[in-house]
Amino acid sequence: MTTANDVLSALQSAFPGAIQEFRVEADNRLWATVDPNKIVEICEFLRDEQDFDHYSGAAGVDKIDEALFEVTEILASHGAHPVVALLKVKTPRDAPSVKSLTDLFWNANWYEREIWEMFGINFEDHPGLYPLLLVDELVGSWPWRKDFKGYPDYNTNERVLEIINPDGYAEYKISPTEAEIEAGTVPETRPEYPTFREREIMELETESEMILHLGPQHAIVPGPFMLDLKVDGERVKKAYLDVGYIHKGIEKILENRTYIQGIPITDRMCYLAALSNNEAFCGAIERLMEIEVPERAQYIRVILEELSRIQSHLLGTGEFLSLIGGVTYSPFQWMIIDREETVSCIESVTGARITHSFIRPGGVRNDLPDGFAEMTRSALKTVVDKTNEYKELFLSDSMYEMRMAGIGVLSPEEARRLGVSGPPLRASDTPYDMRREDPILVYPDLDFDVISRKEGDSKARVEVRLDEIIESCHIVEQCLDQIPGGPIQEKVPKKIKPNPGEAYYRVEDPRGEMGIFLVSDGTDKPVKVKVRGPVFAYFQALPPLLEGAYVADVVAIAGSMDACTSEVDR
C-alpha cells in the first residue's frame, strides 16, 4: 500500500527542488508547497504515475499578512491508495495568477471559477472564467478577500430600480449611494465577460432550436437553480447550469464566527445531511486540537449519522419518485411516512427535525434518552420491511423498468473523470466510500458492505440508495448492541482555540464525499473554511450527462442524482 512518504519521495526524485515545503501529517495526508511554475507537471505526474485520479477540489486562502494568496489543490485516488495530497501554490496578492488544471482534470473547472469570482485569482488557460455563484453586480468586489468592505444594502424599496429588458423580464438593480462609493465598497473596475443568458443564446444554431428554462422555480428543482436546455423538439442538444440562487456565503460567515458559533451554520449547508456536516466541521477542529473523542460519543455520532443517512435517502428517493410519477404517486408518500419515523428517532435525541447542531468538538451535546434503543429498533424494523417492499415493487414494475433502465448511463471511467461521488459513483461500479477509504470514528470496528452496482443508470442509483438504507439499519443495530457506557464529552477548553495549522477531514455524507478544509491561526475564529461538497461535484457533471436525452428523461436523470442546491451554493 502506498503511503504519503512514498508519494513524497517519488515527487522529490522526479522534481528536484520543486517541493518547497512539506509535511507528512499521517500515512494518508501529504501537505506540500510546490513551485507555481511546476504545478501542472507535478499534478500530471501524480495522476499518471501515482494513481491520483480523483481531483477533490481546490481552496483559496487569503494570507493578508504575508501579502499572498494560497491555492490548495486537493488530490486523492479512487481506491488505489488512501493518500490525500494537498498541494499549495502561492501567488502574490497584487497580481494573483496561477496555472489552471482544467486540462488535466475536467472537474477542476467549477472550483477554479469559484476561486476566481471570490478572490480574483486569475487562472491561466482556463477555458471559460465566468462567475459561478455570484450575481453579476457583485463580481469585481471579490467578497472572500479579507479586506472586503461589504456591498450596498437593499435597505429600502425606493433604492431598487425596476428595469424591463427587451424580452419583457423585469430586472431589479440597486444603485449605490455616494457614501458607499466613498467607503470603497463598490468596485471601480469590473471584469468583462458575456452573461449567462448571452452565452447560451450565442450557441443557438438553427431556427428549430430553443432554450427551455427549468428553473429557478420549477417543480423539478429541490431548491432554486437554473437548468437551461437547448432543445430541438423533445431532444436535449446541450444543457447549461446556473447556480448560486441561494448563495449565502457560508464560508465567509464562518470566518466571522467562533468555532462553536459556526456549528449551527454548518447545519444549514445541506439541510438533509446536517449531522454529517457537523461531524466534518468538528472533526477538522478535533484534528487540529489533537483530541480523542470518547468511545460512547463516537457510537452516538455513528448512530445519528446513519439514521440521518436513512432519512435523507428516503426523502431523496421519494422526491425522485414524485418527479417521475407525480405527487400523487403513492410510494412517494409512503416513503415520507417511513422518513417521519426515522426523523422522530433523531428528534428524540437532538430535539430538532432537520437542523440539529448536535455534535461538539470532543463529543456530543447530550446522551441518548431512555428507551431510545427500543424505539429505534422498532422504527428500523418497519423501515427495513418497507424498503424491501419498495425494492420488490421496482423490480416487478415493468413500466418503471422502461422509464429508468439505461437512462443517464455513467460508465465507471466517465464517473471518475466527472468527479461524482457517493451513490452515483457507487452505482457505476466503483465501491468508493469514505467510511472505508478514510475511516473515522468507530467505523473500522463495524461490519458493513459498500454497496455498488454495475449498470450506472438511474435505476441503479436508486437501487444503491435503497440498499444503503438497509445497510445503514444494519450498522445502527450493531451500534445499539455494542455501545459502551462512559463519558460523552472530552474535556475541552471553554473557548476553543485550535493550534495554528491546516486540516482536511472527510466524511461520507448521504450524498457522497464531504470534506472540510480548515485553516487556523490559533485564534478563536478560523482563517478559512473550505467546504468540499458532494453535490457541487454532481452538479458540474450534470450538463454532459443530459446531452442527447429526452426532456422527460432530464427529470429522471437529475432526480436520481438526489441534489441539494443549498450545499452547492453554500
Binding site: G325, G326, Y329
Partner: protein, 350 residues
C-alpha cells in the same frame, strides 16, 4: 282533467310549431345535461382527492363542509370564479380566449348524444338520452378527440415554451391513439349490428367485456390516453413542463379547462360502460323497479371512475416516445386482431 289541461295545449303547440318546440326542449335538455356533467365533475374531483388520500394514508379534504369535506369543491369554484382575469403578454389573444370555450363545447357535444342511464317504467326500459343519433358511438369517439384541439389551442396561444411542448405532446398522443380506439368502436358495432349506443346496450345480452376481452383492454388504455391521465399525462406533466398546456392559464379560464378534463373523464367512463359493461343492463331490483337500471348504470360508472383514480395513484408516467411507440406498434395491430375476432364471433352467432 288537470293533467290533460296542461298536456293538451303543449301537444297542440308542438304540433303547430315543431321547430320552436324542438328548440325549447333542446334548451331544457342542455340545461339538465350541463348541470349533470358539471356537478358530476365536481364530484369526481372530490372523489379523486378522497381516494388518493386514502391510498396514501391521508384524509383528503376534511375541514370544509362537514368532516367529509363535501363543500371543498364549492370553495374552489368560488375562488376560481373571483380570481383576476389575465392574458399574458405576447399571447395569441383570440386563440387563448377561445381554447376553454372550445373545450366546453366539445364536452357538451359528447354529453348530448350519450345516454345518461335509463328508467324502467312498467317493464319497458326508457333510456335517458337527449339526441338519439344513429351513429352516436362513432360521433362520441370523434368528438372526444376534439379535446386535443382545445388543448393545442391553449398551448399554442399561450406564448410559452412549456405550453407549446405540452400541446405538441398532446397532439402526437391523440393521433396515435384515436385509430385503435376507433377500430375498437367498430368491433363493438360489428357485433351489435348498430352504431347507436342505445342499440349497442340493448344488444348486450352477454357483456362485450366477455365477448371481446382484448378489445376492452385496448379501449381502456386508449381511453386513459385520451383523457390524459397518469400514466399518459405527458401533455401536462407537472414535474417536466410545469403544467403543460395550461401553464399560462389561471382563474376561471383555467378552471374551465380543468373541469373539462374531469367532465371528459366522466363521459369516457360512461362510454366505456355502454360499450363493454352492458350499460344499464342488470337484474331488476325489487321495490325500486323504476330506478333499477339507473342504479346499475351508476354503480358501473363509479366503479370505472375509481379504477381510473387507482391507476393514477399507482403508476408512473411514460415518456412521450414510449407512448406513441405503444400506440402504433402494439395497440393498432392488436385492435385489428380484435376486429377480426369480432367479425368471426359475430358471424358465428348470427
Amino acid at each position: 282533467m288537470v293533467l290533460s289541461t296542461i298536456v293538451e295545449p303543449i301537444t297542440d303547440f308542438v304540433a303547430q310549431e315543431p321547430k320552436i318546440a324542438g328548440l325549447i326542449i333542446g334548451l331544457i335538455a342542455a340545461a339538465i345535461i350541463s348541470s349533470v356533467t358539471n356537478v358530476g365533475a365536481m364530484g369526481i374531483v372530490w372523489l379523486e382527492r378522497k381516494v388518493l388520500g386514502d391510498m396514501t394514508n391521508r384524509f383528503g379534504p376534511s375541514r370544509v363542509g362537514t368532516r367529509w369535506g363535501i363543500l371543498q369543491l364549492v370553495a374552489d369554484a368560488i375562488k376560481l370564479f373571483t380570481k383576476e382575469d389575465s392574458i399574458p403578454r405576447g399571447a395569441d389573444k383570440p386563440v387563448y380566449v377561445w381554447a376553454p370555450i372550445v373545450a366546453c363545447m366539445t364536452t357538451m357535444l359528447v354529453a348530448a348524444v350519450l345516454p345518461w342511464g335509463a328508467l324502467n317504467i312498467g317493464g319497458v326500459v326508457y333510456p335517458l338520452v337527449a339526441v338519439n343519433m344513429d351513429i352516436s358511438a362513432f360521433f362520441v369517439e370523434a368528438a372526444l378527440s376534439l379535446m386535443a384541439i382545445a388543448a393545442f389551442m391553449a398551448g399554442w396561444g399561450s406564448n410559452n415554451k412549456y405550453s407549446m411542448l405540452g400541446a405538441f405532446r398532446g397532439i402526437a398522443r391523440m393521433i396515435s391513439y384515436e385509430v385503435p380506439m376507433g377500430i375498437c368502436v367498430i368491433s363493438v358495432a360489428v357485433m351489435a349490428h348498430s352504431l347507436n349506443i342505445v342499440e349497442i346496450v340493448e344488444a348486450q345480452s352477454i357483456w362485450y367485456i366477455i365477448a371481446q376481452p382484448l378489445g376492452f383492454v385496448i379501449f381502456m388504455i386508449a381511453l386513459i390516453t385520451d383523457l390524459g391521465r397518469v400514466p399518459f399525462d405527458q401533455s401536462e406533466a407537472e414535474e417536466e413542463i410545469i403544467a403543460g398546456y395550461v401553464t399560462e392559464y389561471g382563474g376561471i379560464r383555467w378552471g374551465l379547462l380543468y373541469f373539462q378534463e374531469y367532465i371528459t373523464m366522466l363521459l369516457g367512463s360512461v362510454l366505456l360502460v355502454h360499450l363493454y359493461l352492458g350499460g344499464w343492463n342488470g337484474p331488476t331490483i325489487p321495490v325500486i323497479t323504476i330506478l333499477s337500471p339507473m342504479i346499475w348504470f351508476l354503480m358501473k360508472v363509479i366503479l370505472v371512475l375509481v379504477f381510473l383514480i387507482w391507476v393514477r395513484g399507482s403508476l408512473i408516467r411514460f415518456r412521450i416516445d414510449q407512448v406513441t411507440d405503444l400506440g402504433w406498434k402494439w395497440l393498432l395491430p392488436l385492435s385489428l386482431v380484435n376486429l377480426v375476432w369480432a367479425v368471426a364471433i359475430g358471424m358465428y352467432f348470427a
